[in-house]
Symmetry: C2
Subunit: 322 residues, 2 copies
Amino acid sequence: MSEVAEKVIGGDVRAVARLIRDIDDGMPGVRQVLKELYPSTGNAYILGITGAPGVGKSTLVDQIVNHLRKRDKTVGVLAVDPTSPFSGGAILGDRVRMQRHSLDEGVFIRSLATRGHFGGLTQSTRSAIDVLDAMGKDYIIVETVGVGQDEVDVVKSAHTTIITVIPGMGDDIQAIKAGILEIGDIFLINKADREGTDKTLSDLRLMINMDHKKYEEGNWKPPILKAQAVFDIGVKELLEEIDKHNRYLTEFSGERQVRRREDKVRQELGDMVKNRLIEEVLDKITGTGEFDKAVESIVEGKTDPYTACDNLVLPAIGVPTG
Amino acid sequence: MSEVAEKVIGGDVRAVARLIRDIDDGMPGVRQVLKELYPSTGNAYILGITGAPGVGKSTLVDQIVNHLRKRDKTVGVLAVDPTSPFSGGAILGDRVRMQRHSLDEGVFIRSLATRGHFGGLTQSTRSAIDVLDAMGKDYIIVETVGVGQDEVDVVKSAHTTIITVIPGMGDDIQAIKAGILEIGDIFLINKADREGTDKTLSDLRLMINMDHKKYEEGNWKPPILKAQAVFDIGVKELLEEIDKHNRYLTEFSGERQVRRREDKVRQELGDMVKNRLIEEVLDKITGTGEFDKAVESIVEGKTDPYTACDNLVLPAIGVPTG
Protein backbone atom coordinates (compact mmCIF):
# COMPACT_ATOMS: atom_id res chain seq x y z
CA MET A 1 0.00 0.00 0.00
CA SER A 2 1.19 3.50 -0.86
CA GLU A 3 2.22 5.92 1.86
CA VAL A 4 -0.62 8.26 0.92
CA ALA A 5 -3.25 5.55 1.35
CA GLU A 6 -1.76 4.55 4.69
CA LYS A 7 -1.79 8.13 5.91
CA VAL A 8 -5.38 8.67 4.79
CA ILE A 9 -6.57 5.53 6.57
CA GLY A 10 -4.60 6.69 9.61
CA GLY A 11 -6.62 9.92 9.54
CA ASP A 12 -3.80 12.27 8.52
CA VAL A 13 -5.62 15.52 7.77
CA ARG A 14 -2.92 16.91 5.51
CA ALA A 15 -2.77 13.77 3.39
CA VAL A 16 -6.55 13.77 3.08
CA ALA A 17 -6.64 17.44 2.10
CA ARG A 18 -3.97 16.97 -0.53
CA LEU A 19 -5.65 13.87 -1.95
CA ILE A 20 -9.02 15.62 -2.24
CA ARG A 21 -7.38 18.56 -3.95
CA ASP A 22 -5.72 16.16 -6.40
CA ILE A 23 -9.07 14.48 -7.03
CA ASP A 24 -10.65 17.86 -7.64
CA ASP A 25 -7.88 18.76 -10.08
CA GLY A 26 -8.35 15.50 -11.93
CA MET A 27 -4.80 14.24 -11.34
CA PRO A 28 -4.50 10.75 -12.88
CA GLY A 29 -2.35 9.44 -10.02
CA VAL A 30 -5.23 9.45 -7.58
CA ARG A 31 -6.81 6.41 -9.19
CA GLN A 32 -4.23 4.06 -7.69
CA VAL A 33 -4.71 5.52 -4.21
CA LEU A 34 -8.50 5.21 -4.50
CA LYS A 35 -8.11 1.53 -5.39
CA GLU A 36 -6.12 1.03 -2.21
CA LEU A 37 -8.59 2.96 -0.07
CA TYR A 38 -11.68 1.21 -1.39
CA PRO A 39 -11.57 -1.79 0.98
CA SER A 40 -11.63 0.66 3.92
CA THR A 41 -14.82 2.36 2.76
CA GLY A 42 -18.46 1.56 3.43
CA ASN A 43 -18.58 2.53 7.09
CA ALA A 44 -19.69 6.17 6.97
CA TYR A 45 -23.28 7.32 6.94
CA ILE A 46 -23.76 9.74 4.08
CA LEU A 47 -26.20 12.66 4.32
CA GLY A 48 -27.17 14.69 1.26
CA ILE A 49 -28.43 18.22 1.88
CA THR A 50 -29.91 19.95 -1.11
CA GLY A 51 -32.02 22.99 -1.87
CA ALA A 52 -32.09 26.20 -3.88
CA PRO A 53 -29.71 29.06 -3.15
CA GLY A 54 -30.83 31.12 -0.15
CA VAL A 55 -32.69 28.41 1.76
CA GLY A 56 -30.04 28.34 4.46
CA LYS A 57 -28.31 25.05 3.71
CA SER A 58 -24.96 26.09 5.15
CA THR A 59 -26.47 27.19 8.46
CA LEU A 60 -28.34 23.92 8.60
CA VAL A 61 -25.18 21.91 7.89
CA ASP A 62 -23.41 23.85 10.62
CA GLN A 63 -26.12 22.94 13.16
CA ILE A 64 -26.21 19.29 12.11
CA VAL A 65 -22.44 19.08 12.56
CA ASN A 66 -22.88 20.56 16.01
CA HIS A 67 -25.48 17.98 17.03
CA LEU A 68 -23.45 15.08 15.64
CA ARG A 69 -20.36 16.30 17.52
CA LYS A 70 -22.39 16.31 20.76
CA ARG A 71 -23.00 12.60 20.11
CA ASP A 72 -19.23 12.20 19.71
CA LYS A 73 -19.55 11.39 16.04
CA THR A 74 -16.86 12.55 13.63
CA VAL A 75 -18.07 14.42 10.58
CA GLY A 76 -16.83 15.21 7.08
CA VAL A 77 -18.48 17.97 5.07
CA LEU A 78 -18.22 18.27 1.30
CA ALA A 79 -19.63 21.44 -0.25
CA VAL A 80 -20.33 20.85 -3.92
CA ASP A 81 -22.73 23.74 -4.06
CA PRO A 82 -21.34 26.53 -6.21
CA THR A 83 -23.37 29.02 -4.19
CA SER A 84 -22.24 27.74 -0.80
CA PRO A 85 -20.11 30.00 1.34
CA PHE A 86 -18.08 26.89 2.25
CA SER A 87 -17.04 26.41 -1.33
CA GLY A 88 -16.03 30.00 -1.73
CA GLY A 89 -18.53 30.32 -4.51
CA ALA A 90 -20.60 33.06 -2.97
CA ILE A 91 -18.65 36.14 -3.82
CA LEU A 92 -19.25 38.32 -0.82
CA GLY A 93 -20.70 35.67 1.43
CA ASP A 94 -20.27 34.81 5.04
CA ARG A 95 -17.46 32.33 4.86
CA VAL A 96 -16.69 32.37 8.53
CA ARG A 97 -19.87 30.69 9.70
CA MET A 98 -18.28 27.28 10.02
CA GLN A 99 -15.20 28.58 11.77
CA ARG A 100 -16.41 27.36 15.14
CA HIS A 101 -15.63 23.86 13.84
CA SER A 102 -12.30 24.74 12.28
CA LEU A 103 -10.24 23.78 15.34
CA ASP A 104 -12.24 20.62 15.99
CA GLU A 105 -10.26 17.58 14.83
CA GLY A 106 -13.47 15.59 14.58
CA VAL A 107 -14.70 17.75 11.73
CA PHE A 108 -13.22 17.93 8.25
CA ILE A 109 -14.66 20.44 5.78
CA ARG A 110 -13.77 20.69 2.13
CA SER A 111 -15.30 22.18 -0.96
CA LEU A 112 -15.11 20.83 -4.47
CA ALA A 113 -14.91 23.15 -7.44
CA THR A 114 -14.29 20.50 -10.03
CA ARG A 115 -14.87 22.21 -13.27
CA GLY A 116 -11.56 21.31 -14.80
CA HIS A 117 -12.23 17.86 -16.13
CA PHE A 118 -15.01 15.85 -17.56
CA GLY A 119 -17.77 14.28 -15.48
CA GLY A 120 -16.09 16.20 -12.75
CA LEU A 121 -18.66 16.99 -10.16
CA THR A 122 -20.26 13.60 -9.65
CA GLN A 123 -17.06 11.61 -10.01
CA SER A 124 -14.94 13.80 -7.77
CA THR A 125 -17.60 13.95 -5.10
CA ARG A 126 -17.95 10.19 -5.01
CA SER A 127 -14.19 9.79 -4.78
CA ALA A 128 -13.98 12.45 -2.06
CA ILE A 129 -16.73 10.62 -0.14
CA ASP A 130 -14.64 7.44 -0.40
CA VAL A 131 -11.63 9.31 1.00
CA LEU A 132 -13.51 10.71 4.01
CA ASP A 133 -15.06 7.30 4.53
CA ALA A 134 -11.66 5.57 4.47
CA MET A 135 -10.37 8.29 6.79
CA GLY A 136 -12.87 7.03 9.36
CA LYS A 137 -15.47 9.79 9.51
CA ASP A 138 -18.75 8.54 11.03
CA TYR A 139 -20.92 10.92 9.03
CA ILE A 140 -20.28 12.59 5.70
CA ILE A 141 -22.48 15.52 4.74
CA VAL A 142 -22.66 16.47 1.07
CA GLU A 143 -24.14 19.89 0.44
CA THR A 144 -25.41 20.65 -3.06
CA VAL A 145 -27.71 23.17 -4.68
CA GLY A 146 -29.61 20.30 -6.28
CA VAL A 147 -30.27 21.81 -9.67
CA GLY A 148 -28.71 20.19 -12.68
CA GLN A 149 -28.24 16.50 -13.30
CA ASP A 150 -24.77 16.42 -11.81
CA GLU A 151 -25.99 17.62 -8.47
CA VAL A 152 -28.90 15.21 -8.45
CA ASP A 153 -26.50 12.37 -9.21
CA VAL A 154 -24.29 13.45 -6.34
CA VAL A 155 -26.97 13.11 -3.71
CA LYS A 156 -27.96 9.72 -5.10
CA SER A 157 -24.84 8.49 -3.31
CA ALA A 158 -26.31 9.53 0.04
CA HIS A 159 -28.04 7.22 2.50
CA THR A 160 -30.43 9.99 3.53
CA THR A 161 -31.18 13.02 1.40
CA ILE A 162 -32.71 16.11 2.94
CA ILE A 163 -34.46 18.57 0.66
CA THR A 164 -34.56 22.05 2.12
CA VAL A 165 -37.09 24.68 1.07
CA ILE A 166 -38.24 28.00 2.49
CA PRO A 167 -41.70 29.53 2.46
CA GLY A 168 -42.66 32.18 -0.05
CA MET A 169 -39.73 32.05 -2.43
CA GLY A 170 -42.05 32.61 -5.34
CA ASP A 171 -45.45 31.57 -6.56
CA ASP A 172 -44.71 27.96 -5.83
CA ILE A 173 -42.27 25.59 -4.24
CA GLN A 174 -39.25 26.66 -6.17
CA ALA A 175 -36.49 24.39 -7.22
CA ILE A 176 -38.39 21.23 -6.55
CA LYS A 177 -38.60 19.46 -9.81
CA ALA A 178 -39.72 15.92 -10.38
CA GLY A 179 -36.22 14.45 -10.28
CA ILE A 180 -35.38 16.13 -7.02
CA LEU A 181 -38.66 15.24 -5.38
CA GLU A 182 -38.01 11.55 -5.98
CA ILE A 183 -34.68 11.54 -4.20
CA GLY A 184 -35.95 13.31 -1.06
CA ASP A 185 -36.01 11.14 2.07
CA ILE A 186 -36.80 14.06 4.37
CA PHE A 187 -38.25 17.46 3.53
CA LEU A 188 -37.33 20.41 5.69
CA ILE A 189 -39.03 23.79 5.63
CA ASN A 190 -36.39 26.16 6.92
CA LYS A 191 -37.03 29.74 8.08
CA ALA A 192 -40.39 28.38 9.20
CA ASP A 193 -41.26 31.55 11.08
CA ARG A 194 -41.95 33.19 7.74
CA GLU A 195 -45.30 33.84 6.23
CA GLY A 196 -46.46 31.08 3.93
CA THR A 197 -45.07 28.17 5.95
CA ASP A 198 -48.43 26.44 6.21
CA LYS A 199 -49.02 26.77 2.48
CA THR A 200 -45.60 25.33 1.71
CA LEU A 201 -46.30 22.51 4.14
CA SER A 202 -49.61 21.64 2.53
CA ASP A 203 -48.15 21.92 -0.98
CA LEU A 204 -45.37 19.53 -0.08
CA ARG A 205 -47.79 17.15 1.61
CA LEU A 206 -49.92 17.16 -1.53
CA MET A 207 -46.97 16.36 -3.75
CA ILE A 208 -45.81 13.53 -1.53
CA ASN A 209 -49.30 12.10 -1.25
CA MET A 210 -49.67 12.15 -5.02
CA ASP A 211 -46.99 9.50 -4.94
CA HIS A 212 -48.93 7.48 -2.37
CA LYS A 213 -48.67 4.20 -4.31
CA LYS A 214 -44.98 4.18 -3.60
CA TYR A 215 -45.61 3.94 0.14
CA GLU A 216 -47.99 1.02 0.11
CA GLU A 217 -45.52 -1.82 0.45
CA GLY A 218 -43.93 -0.48 3.58
CA ASN A 219 -41.69 1.93 1.70
CA TRP A 220 -40.34 5.00 3.45
CA LYS A 221 -42.66 7.98 3.31
CA PRO A 222 -40.72 11.25 3.50
CA PRO A 223 -41.64 13.29 6.58
CA ILE A 224 -41.96 17.08 6.33
CA LEU A 225 -40.30 19.02 9.12
CA LYS A 226 -40.23 22.69 10.06
CA ALA A 227 -37.07 24.36 11.27
CA GLN A 228 -35.30 27.62 11.96
CA ALA A 229 -31.76 26.41 11.58
CA VAL A 230 -30.26 29.74 12.58
CA PHE A 231 -31.81 29.39 16.08
CA ASP A 232 -31.21 25.62 16.20
CA ILE A 233 -34.98 25.08 16.19
CA GLY A 234 -36.08 21.81 14.63
CA VAL A 235 -32.59 20.45 14.09
CA LYS A 236 -32.85 17.89 16.90
CA GLU A 237 -36.05 16.59 15.30
CA LEU A 238 -34.28 16.41 11.95
CA LEU A 239 -31.55 14.28 13.49
CA GLU A 240 -34.19 11.96 14.94
CA GLU A 241 -35.76 11.51 11.51
CA ILE A 242 -32.34 10.78 10.03
CA ASP A 243 -31.88 8.08 12.68
CA LYS A 244 -35.30 6.69 11.84
CA HIS A 245 -34.44 6.57 8.14
CA ASN A 246 -31.13 4.91 8.97
CA ARG A 247 -33.03 2.20 10.93
CA TYR A 248 -35.46 1.82 8.05
CA LEU A 249 -32.56 1.21 5.65
CA THR A 250 -30.86 -1.36 7.85
CA GLU A 251 -34.13 -3.16 8.48
CA PHE A 252 -34.58 -3.65 4.74
CA SER A 253 -35.08 -7.30 4.03
CA GLY A 254 -31.85 -8.91 2.83
CA GLU A 255 -32.87 -9.33 -0.80
CA ARG A 256 -33.94 -5.73 -1.08
CA GLN A 257 -30.78 -4.42 0.45
CA VAL A 258 -28.66 -6.37 -2.02
CA ARG A 259 -30.74 -5.02 -4.91
CA ARG A 260 -30.30 -1.48 -3.61
CA ARG A 261 -26.57 -1.96 -3.31
CA GLU A 262 -26.39 -3.49 -6.79
CA ASP A 263 -28.31 -0.58 -8.31
CA LYS A 264 -25.95 1.87 -6.71
CA VAL A 265 -22.83 0.04 -7.87
CA ARG A 266 -24.27 -0.30 -11.38
CA GLN A 267 -24.99 3.41 -11.57
CA GLU A 268 -21.63 4.43 -10.19
CA LEU A 269 -19.63 2.05 -12.37
CA GLY A 270 -21.56 3.19 -15.45
CA ASP A 271 -20.74 6.82 -14.70
CA MET A 272 -17.13 5.98 -14.06
CA VAL A 273 -16.83 4.10 -17.34
CA LYS A 274 -18.38 7.05 -19.15
CA ASN A 275 -16.00 9.57 -17.61
CA ARG A 276 -12.99 7.39 -18.19
CA LEU A 277 -13.92 6.90 -21.81
CA ILE A 278 -14.07 10.62 -22.36
CA GLU A 279 -10.84 11.20 -20.55
CA GLU A 280 -9.02 8.60 -22.65
CA VAL A 281 -10.49 9.21 -26.11
CA LEU A 282 -11.71 12.80 -26.31
CA ASP A 283 -8.27 14.34 -25.95
CA LYS A 284 -7.01 12.17 -28.79
CA ILE A 285 -9.74 13.40 -31.12
CA THR A 286 -9.74 17.07 -30.21
CA GLY A 287 -5.95 17.21 -30.17
CA THR A 288 -5.56 16.26 -33.83
CA GLY A 289 -5.14 18.45 -36.87
CA GLU A 290 -8.32 16.81 -38.16
CA PHE A 291 -10.30 18.55 -35.45
CA ASP A 292 -8.79 21.95 -36.30
CA LYS A 293 -9.55 21.38 -39.98
CA ALA A 294 -13.15 20.49 -39.14
CA VAL A 295 -13.54 23.71 -37.12
CA GLU A 296 -12.21 25.69 -40.08
CA SER A 297 -14.56 23.99 -42.53
CA ILE A 298 -17.55 24.81 -40.34
CA VAL A 299 -16.50 28.43 -39.92
CA GLU A 300 -16.07 28.73 -43.70
CA GLY A 301 -19.50 27.20 -44.24
CA LYS A 302 -18.10 24.22 -46.13
CA THR A 303 -19.63 21.68 -43.78
CA ASP A 304 -22.02 21.49 -40.83
CA PRO A 305 -21.01 20.42 -37.30
CA TYR A 306 -23.21 17.31 -37.39
CA THR A 307 -21.39 15.89 -40.43
CA ALA A 308 -17.99 16.97 -39.08
CA CYS A 309 -18.75 15.15 -35.83
CA ASP A 310 -19.58 11.93 -37.68
CA ASN A 311 -16.30 12.13 -39.57
CA LEU A 312 -14.28 12.59 -36.39
CA VAL A 313 -15.97 10.12 -34.07
CA LEU A 314 -16.93 7.18 -36.22
CA PRO A 315 -13.46 6.28 -37.54
CA ALA A 316 -12.02 6.59 -34.01
CA ILE A 317 -14.28 3.81 -32.79
CA GLY A 318 -14.18 1.67 -35.92
CA VAL A 319 -17.56 2.52 -37.46
CA PRO A 320 -17.56 3.30 -41.21
CA THR A 321 -18.92 6.78 -42.09
CA GLY A 322 -21.17 7.66 -44.98
CA MET B 1 -33.96 17.71 -48.63
CA SER B 2 -36.29 15.77 -46.34
CA GLU B 3 -39.91 16.80 -45.96
CA VAL B 4 -39.36 17.57 -42.27
CA ALA B 5 -36.51 19.98 -43.00
CA GLU B 6 -38.56 21.70 -45.71
CA LYS B 7 -41.51 22.11 -43.37
CA VAL B 8 -39.32 23.49 -40.58
CA ILE B 9 -37.73 26.04 -42.90
CA GLY B 10 -41.23 26.89 -44.11
CA GLY B 11 -42.19 27.68 -40.51
CA ASP B 12 -44.58 24.76 -39.98
CA VAL B 13 -45.26 24.89 -36.23
CA ARG B 14 -46.27 21.25 -35.93
CA ALA B 15 -43.16 20.01 -37.71
CA VAL B 16 -41.00 22.21 -35.49
CA ALA B 17 -42.70 21.01 -32.33
CA ARG B 18 -42.31 17.37 -33.32
CA LEU B 19 -38.66 17.83 -34.25
CA ILE B 20 -37.84 19.53 -30.94
CA ARG B 21 -39.57 16.75 -29.07
CA ASP B 22 -37.53 14.19 -31.00
CA ILE B 23 -34.36 16.12 -30.21
CA ASP B 24 -35.33 16.18 -26.55
CA ASP B 25 -35.95 12.43 -26.60
CA GLY B 26 -32.56 11.81 -28.22
CA MET B 27 -33.97 10.16 -31.36
CA PRO B 28 -31.05 9.31 -33.67
CA GLY B 29 -32.98 10.27 -36.83
CA VAL B 30 -32.87 13.98 -35.99
CA ARG B 31 -29.20 14.21 -36.88
CA GLN B 32 -29.89 14.02 -40.62
CA VAL B 33 -32.56 16.74 -40.38
CA LEU B 34 -30.23 18.99 -38.40
CA LYS B 35 -27.58 18.62 -41.11
CA GLU B 36 -30.12 19.81 -43.66
CA LEU B 37 -31.26 22.72 -41.53
CA TYR B 38 -27.79 23.96 -40.68
CA PRO B 39 -27.27 26.12 -43.81
CA SER B 40 -30.48 28.01 -42.89
CA THR B 41 -29.24 28.93 -39.42
CA GLY B 42 -27.20 31.89 -38.20
CA ASN B 43 -29.83 34.59 -38.62
CA ALA B 44 -31.50 34.66 -35.20
CA TYR B 45 -30.34 36.78 -32.30
CA ILE B 46 -29.99 34.57 -29.24
CA LEU B 47 -30.68 35.87 -25.73
CA GLY B 48 -29.73 33.88 -22.64
CA ILE B 49 -31.65 34.66 -19.45
CA THR B 50 -30.28 33.09 -16.32
CA GLY B 51 -30.68 33.44 -12.57
CA ALA B 52 -31.56 31.50 -9.44
CA PRO B 53 -35.06 30.12 -8.84
CA GLY B 54 -37.44 32.80 -7.63
CA VAL B 55 -35.82 35.82 -9.28
CA GLY B 56 -38.71 36.16 -11.71
CA LYS B 57 -37.11 34.96 -14.93
CA SER B 58 -40.36 33.78 -16.50
CA THR B 59 -42.12 37.09 -15.91
CA LEU B 60 -39.14 38.85 -17.39
CA VAL B 61 -39.13 36.59 -20.45
CA ASP B 62 -42.83 37.24 -20.87
CA GLN B 63 -42.28 41.01 -20.90
CA ILE B 64 -39.32 40.82 -23.25
CA VAL B 65 -41.42 38.79 -25.68
CA ASN B 66 -44.09 41.45 -25.45
CA HIS B 67 -41.66 44.25 -26.27
CA LEU B 68 -40.11 42.34 -29.17
CA ARG B 69 -43.56 41.61 -30.60
CA LYS B 70 -44.35 45.33 -30.52
CA ARG B 71 -41.30 45.77 -32.76
CA ASP B 72 -42.79 43.12 -35.06
CA LYS B 73 -40.01 40.68 -34.28
CA THR B 74 -40.81 36.97 -34.12
CA VAL B 75 -39.62 35.15 -31.01
CA GLY B 76 -38.79 31.61 -29.98
CA VAL B 77 -38.53 30.74 -26.27
CA LEU B 78 -36.71 27.69 -24.95
CA ALA B 79 -37.10 26.97 -21.25
CA VAL B 80 -34.28 24.73 -20.08
CA ASP B 81 -34.78 25.74 -16.47
CA PRO B 82 -36.08 22.82 -14.43
CA THR B 83 -37.77 25.27 -12.07
CA SER B 84 -39.45 27.31 -14.80
CA PRO B 85 -43.22 27.24 -15.00
CA PHE B 86 -42.82 27.04 -18.79
CA SER B 87 -41.04 23.76 -18.54
CA GLY B 88 -43.63 22.31 -16.22
CA GLY B 89 -40.94 21.87 -13.64
CA ALA B 90 -42.50 23.98 -10.95
CA ILE B 91 -45.03 21.67 -9.48
CA LEU B 92 -47.81 23.99 -8.47
CA GLY B 93 -46.59 26.96 -10.41
CA ASP B 94 -48.28 29.54 -12.53
CA ARG B 95 -48.10 27.93 -15.93
CA VAL B 96 -50.62 30.22 -17.50
CA ARG B 97 -48.54 33.36 -17.37
CA MET B 98 -47.38 33.03 -20.94
CA GLN B 99 -50.81 32.18 -22.28
CA ARG B 100 -51.30 35.65 -23.64
CA HIS B 101 -48.76 34.69 -26.29
CA SER B 102 -50.19 31.25 -26.97
CA LEU B 103 -52.39 32.36 -29.85
CA ASP B 104 -49.71 34.60 -31.35
CA GLU B 105 -48.16 32.90 -34.37
CA GLY B 106 -45.06 35.07 -34.03
CA VAL B 107 -44.17 33.38 -30.75
CA PHE B 108 -43.08 29.78 -30.30
CA ILE B 109 -42.50 28.49 -26.77
CA ARG B 110 -41.06 25.12 -25.87
CA SER B 111 -39.45 23.56 -22.86
CA LEU B 112 -36.70 20.99 -22.83
CA ALA B 113 -36.58 18.28 -20.21
CA THR B 114 -33.73 16.35 -21.74
CA ARG B 115 -32.70 13.98 -19.07
CA GLY B 116 -33.00 10.87 -21.19
CA HIS B 117 -29.67 10.80 -22.93
CA PHE B 118 -26.11 11.78 -22.40
CA GLY B 119 -24.88 15.36 -22.67
CA GLY B 120 -28.53 16.05 -23.10
CA LEU B 121 -29.17 19.54 -21.91
CA THR B 122 -26.47 21.42 -23.75
CA GLN B 123 -26.67 19.40 -26.92
CA SER B 124 -30.44 19.41 -27.20
CA THR B 125 -30.67 23.11 -26.47
CA ARG B 126 -28.14 23.95 -29.15
CA SER B 127 -29.99 21.77 -31.65
CA ALA B 128 -33.34 23.30 -30.65
CA ILE B 129 -31.83 26.77 -31.14
CA ASP B 130 -30.76 25.70 -34.64
CA VAL B 131 -34.31 24.54 -35.36
CA LEU B 132 -35.95 27.81 -34.23
CA ASP B 133 -33.25 29.70 -36.12
CA ALA B 134 -33.90 27.74 -39.34
CA MET B 135 -37.63 28.25 -38.77
CA GLY B 136 -36.97 31.96 -39.16
CA LYS B 137 -37.44 33.37 -35.66
CA ASP B 138 -35.80 36.79 -35.26
CA TYR B 139 -35.03 36.31 -31.57
CA ILE B 140 -34.54 33.15 -29.57
CA ILE B 141 -34.69 33.40 -25.79
CA VAL B 142 -33.11 30.63 -23.76
CA GLU B 143 -34.14 30.60 -20.11
CA THR B 144 -31.99 28.64 -17.68
CA VAL B 145 -31.46 28.52 -13.95
CA GLY B 146 -27.73 28.93 -14.50
CA VAL B 147 -26.45 26.58 -11.85
CA GLY B 148 -24.50 23.56 -12.98
CA GLN B 149 -22.05 23.34 -15.83
CA ASP B 150 -24.67 22.26 -18.34
CA GLU B 151 -26.69 25.40 -17.88
CA VAL B 152 -23.65 27.62 -18.06
CA ASP B 153 -22.66 25.93 -21.32
CA VAL B 154 -26.13 26.50 -22.69
CA VAL B 155 -26.02 30.27 -22.32
CA LYS B 156 -22.57 30.34 -23.88
CA SER B 157 -24.43 29.88 -27.17
CA ALA B 158 -26.22 33.19 -26.65
CA HIS B 159 -25.23 36.49 -28.24
CA THR B 160 -26.32 38.38 -25.14
CA THR B 161 -26.63 36.81 -21.71
CA ILE B 162 -28.67 38.52 -19.00
CA ILE B 163 -28.03 37.54 -15.41
CA THR B 164 -31.00 38.20 -13.18
CA VAL B 165 -30.76 38.63 -9.44
CA ILE B 166 -33.05 39.97 -6.74
CA PRO B 167 -32.16 41.93 -3.63
CA GLY B 168 -31.92 40.26 -0.27
CA MET B 169 -31.99 36.63 -1.26
CA GLY B 170 -29.52 35.81 1.45
CA ASP B 171 -26.40 37.24 2.98
CA ASP B 172 -24.93 37.82 -0.41
CA ILE B 173 -25.59 37.80 -4.12
CA GLN B 174 -26.76 34.27 -4.34
CA ALA B 175 -26.16 32.02 -7.26
CA ILE B 176 -23.53 34.20 -8.81
CA LYS B 177 -20.44 32.16 -8.97
CA ALA B 178 -17.30 32.95 -10.84
CA GLY B 179 -18.27 30.98 -13.94
CA ILE B 180 -21.65 32.67 -14.23
CA LEU B 181 -20.31 36.14 -13.60
CA GLU B 182 -17.98 35.82 -16.55
CA ILE B 183 -20.72 35.05 -19.03
CA GLY B 184 -22.96 37.97 -18.01
CA ASP B 185 -23.31 40.67 -20.66
CA ILE B 186 -26.03 42.50 -18.74
CA PHE B 187 -26.95 42.29 -15.07
CA LEU B 188 -30.54 42.91 -14.06
CA ILE B 189 -31.73 43.46 -10.50
CA ASN B 190 -35.36 42.40 -10.63
CA LYS B 191 -37.94 43.17 -7.92
CA ALA B 192 -35.94 46.35 -7.44
CA ASP B 193 -38.56 47.88 -5.13
CA ARG B 194 -37.35 45.55 -2.42
CA GLU B 195 -35.13 46.47 0.45
CA GLY B 196 -31.48 45.84 -0.24
CA THR B 197 -31.51 46.90 -3.89
CA ASP B 198 -28.81 49.50 -3.40
CA LYS B 199 -26.59 47.03 -1.59
CA THR B 200 -27.03 44.45 -4.35
CA LEU B 201 -26.25 47.14 -6.91
CA SER B 202 -23.04 48.18 -5.18
CA ASP B 203 -22.01 44.55 -4.63
CA LEU B 204 -22.47 43.81 -8.32
CA ARG B 205 -20.62 46.96 -9.31
CA LEU B 206 -17.75 45.94 -7.07
CA MET B 207 -17.57 42.50 -8.61
CA ILE B 208 -17.61 43.84 -12.14
CA ASN B 209 -15.02 46.49 -11.37
CA MET B 210 -12.72 43.86 -9.87
CA ASP B 211 -12.49 42.60 -13.42
CA HIS B 212 -11.62 46.08 -14.70
CA LYS B 213 -8.63 44.96 -16.72
CA LYS B 214 -10.95 43.13 -19.05
CA TYR B 215 -12.59 46.39 -20.10
CA GLU B 216 -9.48 48.31 -20.98
CA GLU B 217 -9.17 47.42 -24.62
CA GLY B 218 -12.63 48.55 -25.56
CA ASN B 219 -14.27 45.35 -24.36
CA TRP B 220 -17.94 45.38 -23.35
CA LYS B 221 -18.50 46.30 -19.73
CA PRO B 222 -21.70 44.75 -18.39
CA PRO B 223 -24.24 47.38 -17.32
CA ILE B 224 -26.34 46.83 -14.20
CA LEU B 225 -30.04 47.59 -14.58
CA LYS B 226 -32.93 47.72 -12.13
CA ALA B 227 -36.34 46.38 -13.03
CA GLN B 228 -39.73 45.29 -11.76
CA ALA B 229 -40.63 42.92 -14.55
CA VAL B 230 -44.08 42.25 -13.18
CA PHE B 231 -45.03 45.92 -13.75
CA ASP B 232 -43.01 46.17 -16.97
CA ILE B 233 -40.69 48.64 -15.27
CA GLY B 234 -37.14 48.66 -16.62
CA VAL B 235 -37.82 46.21 -19.44
CA LYS B 236 -37.66 48.86 -22.16
CA GLU B 237 -34.24 49.90 -20.82
CA LEU B 238 -33.16 46.27 -20.86
CA LEU B 239 -34.11 45.98 -24.52
CA GLU B 240 -32.08 49.10 -25.27
CA GLU B 241 -29.03 47.58 -23.60
CA ILE B 242 -29.53 44.40 -25.59
CA ASP B 243 -29.56 46.50 -28.80
CA LYS B 244 -26.42 48.25 -27.64
CA HIS B 245 -24.69 44.92 -26.99
CA ASN B 246 -25.84 43.68 -30.39
CA ARG B 247 -24.26 46.73 -32.03
CA TYR B 248 -21.09 46.20 -30.01
CA LEU B 249 -20.85 42.62 -31.31
CA THR B 250 -21.36 43.56 -34.95
CA GLU B 251 -18.86 46.40 -34.68
CA PHE B 252 -16.20 43.95 -33.61
CA SER B 253 -13.23 44.27 -35.89
CA GLY B 254 -13.17 41.54 -38.52
CA GLU B 255 -10.35 39.50 -37.05
CA ARG B 256 -11.88 39.51 -33.62
CA GLN B 257 -15.26 38.41 -34.90
CA VAL B 258 -13.73 35.46 -36.73
CA ARG B 259 -11.87 34.44 -33.58
CA ARG B 260 -15.06 34.62 -31.57
CA ARG B 261 -16.88 32.52 -34.13
CA GLU B 262 -14.04 30.00 -34.23
CA ASP B 263 -14.01 29.67 -30.45
CA LYS B 264 -17.72 29.01 -30.43
CA VAL B 265 -17.52 26.39 -33.20
CA ARG B 266 -14.56 24.74 -31.48
CA GLN B 267 -16.43 24.52 -28.18
CA GLU B 268 -19.61 23.25 -29.76
CA LEU B 269 -17.90 20.68 -31.96
CA GLY B 270 -15.86 19.44 -28.99
CA ASP B 271 -19.02 18.94 -26.95
CA MET B 272 -20.74 17.24 -29.83
CA VAL B 273 -17.85 14.83 -30.34
CA LYS B 274 -17.89 14.04 -26.62
CA ASN B 275 -21.59 13.31 -26.57
CA ARG B 276 -21.46 11.27 -29.72
CA LEU B 277 -18.60 9.21 -28.38
CA ILE B 278 -20.58 8.36 -25.29
CA GLU B 279 -23.68 7.59 -27.26
CA GLU B 280 -21.80 5.19 -29.56
CA VAL B 281 -19.45 3.44 -27.14
CA LEU B 282 -21.01 3.55 -23.69
CA ASP B 283 -24.00 1.41 -24.61
CA LYS B 284 -21.68 -1.22 -26.02
CA ILE B 285 -19.72 -1.44 -22.78
CA THR B 286 -22.59 -1.28 -20.31
CA GLY B 287 -24.69 -3.68 -22.38
CA THR B 288 -22.23 -6.56 -22.08
CA GLY B 289 -22.12 -9.47 -19.69
CA GLU B 290 -18.68 -8.18 -18.69
CA PHE B 291 -20.30 -5.12 -17.15
CA ASP B 292 -22.77 -7.23 -15.17
CA LYS B 293 -19.94 -9.44 -13.95
CA ALA B 294 -17.98 -6.39 -12.84
CA VAL B 295 -20.98 -5.08 -10.87
CA GLU B 296 -21.28 -8.45 -9.16
CA SER B 297 -17.57 -8.57 -8.28
CA ILE B 298 -17.77 -5.13 -6.70
CA VAL B 299 -20.89 -6.01 -4.70
CA GLU B 300 -19.19 -9.19 -3.49
CA GLY B 301 -16.11 -7.20 -2.50
CA LYS B 302 -13.86 -9.09 -4.91
CA THR B 303 -12.76 -5.96 -6.72
CA ASP B 304 -13.02 -2.19 -6.49
CA PRO B 305 -14.85 0.00 -9.03
CA TYR B 306 -11.67 1.78 -10.10
CA THR B 307 -10.00 -1.47 -11.19
CA ALA B 308 -13.22 -2.76 -12.76
CA CYS B 309 -13.47 0.45 -14.77
CA ASP B 310 -9.93 0.05 -16.10
CA ASN B 311 -10.71 -3.49 -17.20
CA LEU B 312 -13.85 -2.44 -19.06
CA VAL B 313 -12.67 0.75 -20.72
CA LEU B 314 -9.07 0.17 -21.68
CA PRO B 315 -9.57 -2.91 -23.91
CA ALA B 316 -12.50 -1.19 -25.64
CA ILE B 317 -10.23 1.57 -26.86
CA GLY B 318 -7.13 -0.53 -27.49
CA VAL B 319 -5.06 0.30 -24.41
CA PRO B 320 -3.44 -2.64 -22.55
CA THR B 321 -4.50 -2.96 -18.88
CA GLY B 322 -2.26 -3.77 -15.93
